[in-house]
Amino acid sequence: MTRYLAGRVAALLPVLLAVGVTAFLLLHLIPGDPAAVILGPDASAAQVARLRHALGLDRPLAVQLALWLGRLLRGNLGDSIFLRQTVAQAIWQHLGPTAGLTALAEMLAIGAAIPSGVLAAWKRHSRFDQVFMSAVLLGVSIPSFWMGLNLIAVFAVAARWFPVAGYESPLRGVGPWLRHLLLPALALAFTQAGLIARMARDATIEILDEDYIRTARSKGVADAAVLLRHALRNALIPTVTVIGTSLANLLSGAVVVESVFVLPGIGSLVIQSVSRRDYPVIEGVVLFAAAVYVLLNLAVDLLYAVIDPRVRY
């Protein structure tokens, strides 16, 4: 187990290096210029050139890459061009809203998706199952920004239960924090719930057709026990896989939702940095996202062993 874990973590390094170098090259090959953004539309070419020089952006790409890699090996992601902080500080500072948003969205999604998915499988082809399948289809089809705008219209503008947008730190109270995060989390959870519920239903249906379920029933085990102890536990394995990969996707969905709801998270940081060409921040966030992705996959693999005693590392 420890060896397995060490191997997997070690494999992280080449992945991050490849991602980092690719991101660096792609970013610097696409046109655009942070100096022009800082100086504004009326700046002259000479002014832009001087600031580019001051920022070190006029050096050969290979030199810039070497400098960046050198810093990276020392664990330094560099300094943001625009923010008055290091890239690591910027990521750390923007992590809170994104972590809160994705965790809340995932909880809402799982809370709604697994019970309804299992129930739909149990009552296969019933009216409930039909409604369930339609809802799932809607969930995976509706873009989260559109869902977000509608949630704002109904719950923030018409009902006034929630603020239109913005963020409060949980340090200033869980209530205000939740009030600001619930609508964006719902917008995000809708798609997520669709994906998870469909997998939960399909996996449960498959399990319910297994011989050991029939055996359990024929022994007189109660329906609820069959469903919870035998079916659900086995159906969780493919479902956890979907949850794991979709949690990573949730981060990309968060980019859009954070923008609509003005949450100062990683997604907003990415959008802002891309439009300003804040290279060090974009590179840092890409690396960070890659690490999260790899670690999430690792976590899912480890979870298999917890859920299924047959899986050992």
Binding site: P143, L149, S275
Partner: protein
């Protein structure tokens, strides 16, 4: 981002907003009241708050609460003193003595002195495009006594005071130590003399300014960026909200007091809501077609004139928004800018004539070379305009290759002389002909004209007090604009801002200001 499916969402949102506000009765206070927080939903987060370093609107509209200049525009766009008490010019026009107002202090409480002013102006001369241009005429800036400076010129330069008051190339005054420390880089400590002081900047969330307790206000009622300024609100929060539906929703619920730059299609909903006021900003921007004059075919002025005859500005502007949001006007400046406005060129502008266009193209020897037109979908107006412009150009016989990029890419490509022929842009107001950006050789478009250079240098010799001489020159400058056609003007576009009942005392200007404004809450 405009997506087909969004329309329903917008409608739901607007109906809900109208219903919601109808129920919210708001108290109407009588006079100005101190206290409270003004929440402003902006469309973009600035790159810096250093107003000398950046010409961006996002920087300016926050920074001018924090920083002040020696001179500034009044409500009629005329230059008046702000931190200066007044000035005098020697008979030869080479020595400007500027007296500073006494009792002005920085946000730190430290009094503003001539040393701070000299260091700040020198930094402006190094950092700002307009400052560098102005400093080519300046021999030196010296301190006469703690409350007086002298600017010595190497040749007569009449727009000196105007340039010191230009809000787009702002000569902000900061403490000497900070000016020296920042040098040619954007400043990192935002200390000025303005009615509000910088408090904090949480990236992606808010920029907070707080009332400056040391503020020394002028007494005059000049409006604009000078005269008496009172900081009624305790705090101004600038919140970057990218989606204009969300900005509108927030101003409807009262979470924001004012929302910037809304899409004109929201205007009917704003008009129908008694709690909201639409501010149509008429001194906003004008749209134009910029030519690359550094390579064929548009290095030939006849080809540029051909485009002027090929386009139909009314149809183009209709792509930008409803009729309330634009006007057809040949001028380089806005009608509100009395001293600079003229209609010279109206016999050429908005006179589509394909025969004339084709004749000019033939005369210039145009043989169907493909024209690279740069456009972006990042801004709806840009893409929409290009969709109307391309067929208009094609109808006249131009072969056009429309290339769509993201805005930063477009900005980068347009600086390279061999990558493009045409791009569309907007020109926010200029306050002096020498400050019109596309008259500069280095600005994308690469305009070089001996006739224009001569006119601009004569403008530099003509005293602002010689109104008739200036008027004649402005007319010639605009006439040359229509013979050289460095840019083909399309039309003036208006901006749309909205504010709610909570915000009082607000007046429209080319960009938003929140001194002399209070909130009722």
């Amino acid at each position: 981002m405009r997506v087909f499916g969004m329309n329903l969402g917008i409608r739901v949102l607007l109906i809900a907003a109208a219903v919601g506000l109808a129920g919210a009765g708001m108290a109407r206070g009588a006079g100005p009241a101190a206290g409270g927080v003004i929440h402003v939903a902006t469309n973009a987060e600035p790159g810096t708050l250093d107003w000398t370093a950046s010409t961006a609107t996002a920087t300016r509209l926050v920074a001018w609460h924090v920083y002040e200049t020696l001179f500034a525009l009044d409500r009629n766009y005329d230059v008046k003193p702000l931190l200066a008490e007044g000035y005098s010019v020697s008979a030869d026009g080479l020595h400007y003595t500027i007296r500073l107002r006494r009792g002005v202090a920085f946000h730190t409480g430290q009094p503003m002195t001539a040393d701070d002013v000299v260091a700040s102006l020198e930094r402006w001369g190094e950092l700002s495009g307009g400052g560098r241009e102005t400093f080519t005429f300046i021999k030196h800036v010296t301190k006469v006594d703690p409350a007086t400076i002298e600017i010595t010129l190497n040749r007569v330069f009449a727009p000196l005071i105007d340039n010191l008051g230009d809000p787009k190339q702002a000569a902000i005054i900061m403490p000497q130590s900070l000016a020296r420390a920042a040098g040619a880089q954007p400043a990192r400590d935002y200390i000025g003399t303005g009615p509000y002081a910088f408090q904090k900047w949480e990236q992606g969330r808010q920029i907070v300014l707080a009332r400056n307790p040391h503020y020394a206000a002028r007494a005059e009622d000049w409006g604009g960026l000078t005269g008496r300024k009172v900081a009624y609100a305790d705090e101004i929060d600038f919140l970057p909200v990218r989606d204009d539906q969300v900005r509108f929703a927030g101003v409807s619920t009262g979470e924001y007091d004012l929302a910037l730059e809304l899409a004109p299609d929201l205007y009917p909903q704003i008009k129908g809501n008694p709690h909201l006021t639409a501010d149509i900003v008429k001194v906003f921007t004008w749209r134009g077609v910029v030519f690359n004059k550094a390579r064929p075919p548009f290095n030939d002025a006849r080809m540029r004139r051909a485009v002027l005859y090929a386009i139909k500005p009314g149809d183009l502007m209709a792509a930008v928004g409803p009729k309330e949001f634009w006007s057809l006007d040949p001028a380089l400046f806005f009608p509100q800018q009395d001293a600079l406005y003229t209609t010279v060129g109206k016999d050429v502008y908005n006179h589509q004539n394909l025969e004339k266009a084709r004749a000019l193209m033939k005369e210039a020897g145009y043989a169907g070379r493909t024209i690279a037109l740069l456009a972006t979908k990042d801004y709806a107006w840009n893409y929409n305009l290009s969709q109307v412009l391309v067929p208009q150009l094609q109808a006249a016989g131009f072969a056009v290759d429309e290339q769509v990029y993201d805005w930063p890419t477009l900005l980068s490509r347009r600086t390279k002389k061999d990558l493009w022929d045409i791009f569309l842009t907007g020109f926010s107001p200029s306050f002096d002909p020498t400050a019109v950006i596309f008259f500069a050789r280095t600005w994308p478009g690469f305009y070089e004209s001996a006739a224009m250079d001569d006119l601009l240098s004569r403008w530099g010799q003509t005293s602002p007090r010689d109104a008739a001489g200036r008027k004649a020159l402005i007319e010639q400058i605009q006439a040359t604009f229509y013979t050289d056609v460095p840019v083909a003007k399309i039309g003036n576009e208006y901006g749309l801002e909205v504010y709610n009942d909570h915000l009082r005392g607000y007046t429209s200007y080319f960009d938003v200001r929140f001194w002399n404004v209070w909130v009722t809450r």
